[in-house]
Amino acid sequence: MRNQRYGGGLRCASLLAGVFASSVVWAQALQPQPPATASTTTAPMSAAAEGIYAATRPSLLQVRTLVEAAGRQSSIGSGFLVSADGLAITNYHVVSQYVLEPKTYRLEFARPDGTHGALTLLAIDIANDLAVVRLDGTDLPHLEFDPAAVAGDLPRGERVYAMGNPLDLGFTIVEGTYNGLVERSYNERVHFTGAINPGMSGGPGVTAAGKVAGINVAKRLDGELVSFLVPARKAAALLERARKDSPLTLAQARDEIDHQLLAWQDGFYHALEEKGFRATRFGPYQAPESAADWFNCWARTNAEQTPKPRAQMDSSSCNSQSSLFIAEDIESGRSELTHAYVRSVDLNAFQFTAFLSQYYASASMARSWSRKRLTQPECHEDFVAPADAATAPVLRAVWCARAYRDFAGLYDIALTTVTQDRDKEALVSRLALQGVSYENGLSLAKRFMGEITWTK
């Protein structure tokens, strides 16, 4: 089972309660939540689903990525037709292997009636994990977007049916509930309460009227039935773009991804800057935490460890939960701010710094490393004097950065600082940015470092 991949593997996040944040990301409520109204479905449930399945099924696709040399599928996902002339929507992560390595892979569709053929890529939207593809044909059955969903007016509690081909078992329909946009998330995602499984990625979530409300994209591994859809209006917008613009050639694909990632991070970091930072107190220190509500923050302490720790560490870690899938072995878009206030219980000054070193020495960024996708990190470290010695301590700081090989202008950047004013007390702070432009990284890091101060 493990050697198969379904739709690039549905993207999943795991989040253990009480443990430092999860690995992935979903949506943000940028608009006011629509008021909940009663469902308009009047027919008995099973009959409704039966009708929807029968009406929708002909428009569904299975999207297969085949290894060119072997002619066998290496990953599968779903999709659906949105025009009579063969335009279809799926997830970017379903076609990502083909987009990034068109010489190794090719794309194929299979329809419920057993016909299959080649797919052409027309457009991608990295930030919303969408792609528009085309298959040859005329008078094809197709789905339409739900106008209320496109307008963002679909009421919470509305029944939505997710469709697709889970685990290559055949086309299925899954009944679930529309729960509005995920709150406190920068990227917009619909919270769908229903079982989405690998292989259903890119399939439609349709209303009782058979109109598309969202596109299946991911689920959480640590919850039950907590799944996510890309809002229909994002797909409608991309479709509009695909119709207007000339199709994306594979030669431009990487540049296009690069361009979209750069634009996304520009938007994200400007929004972050705009939301501002609030000074949070850590013992005698004060350090910045983002005021943006799309950060998911977790506190951690070692106070209750046994045997009793000889230095106490209380930390707070805030994660933007905004990862963007690029390929199986690389993602972008995440940012993390961590502060750990450490004080000695009965360690002497040397032992205390040995304790601190565990956190400092991990600064050179081993996290999600891929030799193929990222360059070796370059680091620079030194003691840094505060702008005003009366309000802030001297810091030991290490800056590490690595570049994305495939995408010019994008870097992973990490800044770690340790206060250098006391023997048995210190604040270890870290800013880790994924897929950021050097300029935005520097600017945020400067601000971050400048706001580490004393409370007195």
């Binding site: 390595e101 068109p102 010489k103 050639t249 594979l250 030669a251 431009q252 990487r254 045997p307 000889r310 230095a311 360690l347 000054a349 040397f350 032992q351 205390f352 710094t353 040995a354 601190l356 070193s357 400092y360 020495a361 050179s364 960024m365 081993a366 490393w369 030799r371 193929k372 360059t375 070796q376 990190p377 370059e378 680091c379 620079h380 470290e381 030194d382 003691f383 840094v384 004097a385 505060p386 001297v394 810091l395 030991r396 700081a397 290490v398 800056w399 590490c400 690595r402 570049a403 994305y404 090989r405 495939d406 870097y411 250098q420 004013d421 023997d423 520097l442 890091a445 400067k446 400048g450």
Partner: protein, 346 residues
């Protein structure tokens, strides 16, 4: 061996020739140590494996009648090959000879055996005084004690959890084991090549070497922080290999004072090889796991010696790294398919 020499000497009490000068024929073994020494009393002798020779050799690569050595009218001794298969050579020369005029320095080679003619006028090396050197092991023990003290200090300063006795016993055992094995090996080599084990000297050499490395390691750990000079601690292995080479050289010198430049060259080559290998291994490890060399150990802030940089200067340095990253972005990764794979004709 002494007995043989004595016997040979006693067997030939008479003098040859003009009486003022007489000669000895020395038979040298495979390793060029004198096996037997015989005083020559006649004007000509034969050498070979057969028992009718004056000097009988047991070397299977020597002919039954291999060599005749005769004194000419002018007093010079000449060796003549009697028609052997393996011939006669002057040691250090590859040319086979039929006749060889012998002086005190020439060593003949027959099969695997050496022959040397020594005249009574041959000068001998001055008498060596018997060395009554001070014992070296007390100093060696002091060094070992210092190494252990340093190790224990390092462990204690780095102790962040519950102190465990086993952690403090480990260096005691490992230092003792390494030094014992190492000293024994060199003692054996010494015994084989010089006849004396000189364990005290070898023990002192390795103890001093380990102490030097221990000290250097501790100093760099502090120095790297105090001077904000990461390379100091990340290149400890370079000094480690140099100390190792110096230790090997000292051992070799203790084995004998000959060919010192050759020995120095060999240990330097060893050090260069070690440093290169470790450097490659380290950079391979770094590129496999995407790690950069950063300071591994902080120290109390009061140990800082260098001045802190201004924030603007710090970030200016960070900004400068971008060029290096963009350069390595364009280089192909060591494995896998990079951007070059893209091609992108479709």
């Amino acid at each position: 061996m002494d007995e043989v020499n004595m016997a040979a000497a006693n067997a030939a009490p008479a003098r040859v020739g003009d009486g003022a000068e007489f000669v000895w024929l020395e038979v040298l073994g495979r390793h060029r140590d004198v096996i037997t020494r015989q005083r020559i009393t006649s004007k000509a002798i034969t050498v070979g494996r057969a028992y009718d020779n004056d000097i009988v050799l047991d070397d299977p690569h020597v002919a039954a009648h291999h060599l005749r050595i005769a004194r000419g009218d002018d007093g010079a001794w000449t060796a003549t090959d009697l028609g052997s298969v393996n011939g006669v050579f002057v040691e250090g020369d590859r040319a086979r000879r039929q006749h060889i005029v012998l002086d005190g320095a020439t060593t003949l080679q027959l099969g695997h055996t050496g022959l040397r003619l020594r005249r009574s006028t041959q000068e001998v090396a001055p008498e060596l005084p018997v060395l009554r050197s001070v014992p070296r092991w007390p100093l060696a023990l002091v060094c070992i004690g210092a190494v252990l003290a340093l190790e224990w200090l390092g462990l204690w300063l780095g102790e962040t959890g519950e102190p465990k006795l086993i952690r403090y016993l480990t260096p005691l055992l490992s230092v003792a084991a390494v030094i014992t094995v190492w000293t024994t090996v060199w003692g054996l080599l010494s015994r084989v090549f010089t006849g004396q084990a000189r364990l005290g000297v070898h023990l002192l050499i390795i103890s001093a070497g380990v102490l030097a490395f221990s000290l250097y390691q501790q100093i760099t750990e502090f120095g790297a922080f105090a001077l904000s000079w990461t390379a100091l601690s990340s290149s400890v292995y370079v000094i480690g290999w140099l100390i190792f080479a110096a230790v090997c050289f000292a051992h070799l010198r203790a084995l004998g004072p000959s060919r010192l430049p050759l020995k120095a060259g060999a240990v330097l080559a060893l050090a260069a090889l070690g440093i290169t290998m470790q450097h490659l291994k380290l950079s391979e490890w770094r590129s496999t796991y995407g790690q950069a060399a950063t300071l591994q150990r902080l120290q109390p802030p009061s140990l800082r010696v260098v001045a802190a940089q201004a924030q603007t200067a710090f970030f200016a340095n960070d900004a400068a790294l971008q060029a290096a990253l963009d350069k390595s972005r364009n280089e192909e990764p060591a494995d896998g398919d990079g951007p070059g794979e893209m091609g992108g004709d479709d």
